[in-house]
């Protein structure tokens, strides 16, 4: 066969990824598979915290003693709402409304950033006000590492959202292929949210002894 530089239009051309035996696109299946592994990741971190939170230590305080539940409730609400804006962004894209998609993407990124700012504020309070650092006791270590990794995941999500936003702005909209990518970023974002749902209840509400 001779090599040609232009793809033949009417001849049958064999492609690399032609069909999916499960009926789910490769990238989507890949994202769900990856997310299921993240349960093991965050599960280990939550387990560490549950192991240590109530023990007696020489140095205090432990996180449970100093949680600011009202503050954390508000930032949980913010993250929850960011899932709404995320799903609205995806919905807008399915309706081919590129402008609305961009708006909702930006909104999600902003809500995520507000959440992160809240985390930074909380950490700062704990360190400056209560002198609870990574090295104070294992409960503190577990708390910071757990919420720190969650925050890192949020930050990565924000970067992905802003990338999609930037791409859409530069190219005048997201192409058909990018539809799936936005959906995948959405899945990731919602996952980070559900992990926080677990953390807020199990780590904050159920172990707080601060009484608010």
């Amino acid at each position: 066969m001779s090599e040609s530089t232009a793809p033949p239009e009417d001849e049958e051309v064999a492609h690399h990824d032609e069909h999916e035996s499960t009926g789910v696109e490769n990238r989507k299946l890949g994202m769900w598979v990856f997310l299921s592994s993240e349960f093991l990741f965050f599960g280990a971190l939550i387990t560490n915290y549950l192991l240590y939170f109530g023990r007696e230590f020489e140095q205090g305080p432990t996180p449970s003693e100093i949680y600011d539940i009202p503050f954390t409730s508000v930032s949980s609400f913010v993250l929850l709402m960011s899932s709404l804006t995320m799903v609205l962004a995806h919905n807008a894209l399915t309706r081919r409304d590129q402008g609305a998609t961009r708006t909702w993407l930006l909104a999600t990124a902003m809500l995520g950033s507000v959440f992160l700012a809240g985390q930074v504020f909380e950490f700062t309070e704990f360190i400056v006000e209560y002198d609870m650092t990574l090295s104070t006791n294992p409960a503190a270590s577990s708390f910071y590492v757990l919420t720190g990794f969650h925050g890192t995941h949020v930050a990565i999500g924000v970067i992905m959202l802003l990338s999609l936003f930037g791409l859409s702005k530069r190219l005048g909209g997201l192409s058909e292929r990018q539809h799936l990518n936005l959906e995948l970023v959405g899945l990731y974002w919602h996952f980070v949210d559900i992990i926080w749902i677990v953390i807020f209840t199990v780590v904050y509400l159920l172990t707080a002894t601060s009484g608010g």
């Binding site: 093991l40 899932s83 799936l180 807020f200 509400l205 159920l206």
Partner: protein, 103 residues
Amino acid sequence: MTEEHHATHPQPAQYVKIAVVLATLTAVEVGLYYLNNSLSLGWINTALLLILAALKFLIVIGWYMHLRFEKRTLSRFFGFGFVLALTLYAVVLVGFGVLALNR
């Protein structure tokens, strides 16, 4: 491919309704937390909070992540990871006596 799901995708208004449900559940959780501070409900508090969290968890997965409307393969994969994590770590915590009776 997403076009084929178009008919089954909820409308924006539905998503907002779901968000209101999620916010309400969160408010109930926080309310329960304060109630428990005054009344010391013990294991009832734990059970209720976990149920509320589980509801939020499943609602986001089912509707926002669209898993209710996807092929069952995805639920199986995702669910397997979750059940595995829960089981393994429960055994570790029991082994350390955290979930055991002497707490």
